[in-house]
């Protein structure tokens, strides 16, 4: 296996994500205007919404890789699926936390149950929080990969459906930042938002690549160790884990 497969492009991507994120945050504080209603606190939107969007896209991407794994049996896709979901979960926690802060600052409550976007995001998060425990509960690595892929595919289909259902039971508290009718974002805000979103997306890809590279390297290391130890000499017992074994 080409050992440069994952690490290729890592450096440019890291630089790009740093540039975009730093640039984006600079724009947030220096360029974008303050919101008329909410004031300074509204600026957390530039962090919260990109986190949420990238996390959701990441979950769906995990599902796509799940499909590819099921069809090809190539463990690499399972690894990509795992990493995508893993990192999206972290971003989702960030989105929930920033969303909560924003809610507290804007509406005085740490959580607003009537708000569909928050609630449906929470549901998706709770579902995916079970991904790793599910993987861990299956010992056979083949089966673990397959079942995790099935879960990822179902979850990926669930994300849009869930948002649709919850939105249909709507409330109007959550500022509809991206809807065409309600969005009264001036151009400067829009540009800042796009930069922040791009930065978050690139950072996500970079983090995924880092984790993929690191896991791939440790697998190769273990494979080498095994070969050095001689195949016949019993086997190196692998600690049971939720992460895919290549």
């Amino acid at each position: 296996m080409n050992r440069h497969t994952f690490s290729r492009g890592l450096v440019p991507l890291s630089i790009a994500s740093v540039v975009l994120l730093v640039g984006g945050f600079a724009m947030v504080f220096l360029y974008a205007p303050s919101d008329a209603d909410q004031g300074f606190v509204q600026k957390i939107f530039y962090l919260h919404v990109p986190l949420a969007i990238v996390a959701l896209v990441g979950f769906v991407a995990g599902g796509v890789y799940g499909i590819r794994f099921l069809r090809s049996g190539d463990r690499l896709h399972d690894l990509r699926s795992y990493v995508a979901i893993h990192i999206s979960l972290i971003l989702a926690v960030g989105a929930l936390v920033t969303g909560s802060i924003w809610a507290k600052a804007s509406w005085g409550q740490w959580w607003v149950w009537e708000e569909p976007t928050l609630v449906s995001f929470l549901i998706v998060f709770l579902l995916y929080a079970c991904y790793q425990p599910l993987r861990f509960s299956i010992e056979d690595p083949d089966r673990q990969a397959r079942y995790a892929a099935v879960f990822a595919v179902v979850g990926g289909a669930f994300v849009p459906l869930n948002f649709m259902a919850v939105r249909a039971a709507e409330s109007l508290i959550h500022p509809r930042v991206l809807s065409t009718t309600g969005g009264t974002m001036p151009g400067s805000m829009r540009i800042t938002f796009v930069v922040a979103l791009a930065g978050m997306a690139v950072m996500f890809v970079t983090l995924c690549k880092y984790e993929l590279t690191s896991k791939h390297a440790s697998f190769q290391l273990r494979a080498l160790k095994r070969r050095l130890a001689g195949e016949d000499d019993g086997w190196v017992p692998v600690r049971r884990s939720a992460a895919p074994q290549l």
Binding site: L134, S137, V150, V153, F158, L161, M164, A165, A168
Partner: protein
């Protein structure tokens, strides 16, 4: 008799359903438990909510959440016989399309849900609704059937997934409940107008539509993906 030619799926599904229904009649494991759970919950709500009767959103919410939890009981047991008595192997050895198992189990789960609702919904009406209630029976039945289909599809998938893991009883609710929340939302919001104190209103068309879409999407998805749960 042909030498091991594949058997038509319809016949296989029928055989599986017969077998499961016969097992349920004999062991009485799922439906009585679901029924008992549902009715006890309604009784508890009756006393706990300290309200003479419920209406609208509240009533719909109580009914659907209870049905959802009851379905988890059935899902837990859906594949247990297969797992413990070699049913998977027995089925996998047959020259049949493996998706037949999914179709059969989903149908069985659907039947269980309908059976429970035949008793639980009237009980609910007696315990928690105004005496004038249960108007709009056709709409209610439509919503019940659509929602049951969604629960059956997702429940079968989660049941099959969970039965082969080590923490089955934990994983089923953790996976099934979030996945079925759109069903609860759509079904509850759809049922609510039927039980308003002021008089039943029409059910907004979007709720059956969402249920239908959910059933379709997850039905197709589960059909496509189920095979992979059985492979080794």
């Amino acid at each position: 008799m042909s030498a091991g030619a594949p058997v038509p799926t319809r016949a296989v599904v029928a055989a599986l359903i017969r077998k499961d229904l016969r097992l349920e009649l004999r062991t009485r494991e799922s439906v009585p438990a679901m029924l008992l759970f549902s009715i006890s919950t309604f009784v508890l709500f009756h006393f706990g909510l300290d309200a003479r009767s419920l209406e609208g959103d509240m009533a719909a919410g109580v009914l659907w959440v209870t049905l959802l939890f009851a379905s988890v009981l059935a899902i837990n047991r859906l594949f247990v016989a297969e797992r413990e008595e070699g049913g998977f192997d027995g089925f996998l050895l047959a020259p049949v399309d493996r998706t037949a198992l999914f179709l059969a189990k989903a149908t069985v789960l659907f039947c269980f849900l309908v059976a429970v609702e035949l008793a639980a919904v009237p009980a609910f009406a007696v315990l928690l609704l105004e005496p004038s209630a249960l108007p709009g029976l056709p709409e209610l039945c439509l919503l019940l059937l659509l929602a049951d289909a969604g629960i059956a599809v997702v429940g079968t998938l989660v049941g099959a997934l969970a039965v082969q893991t080590r923490a089955r009883d934990l994983i089923v609710p953790l996976l099934a409940l979030p996945l079925m929340i759109p069903v609860v939302i759509a079904a509850a919001r759809g049922t609510a107008p039927l039980w308003l104190e002021a008089g039943a209103e029409a059910v907004p068309g979007r709720w059956p539509a969402i249920l239908g879409l959910y059933d379709l999407v997850f039905g197709l998805l589960a059909y496509a993906v189920f095979d992979y749960l059985l492979d080794e």
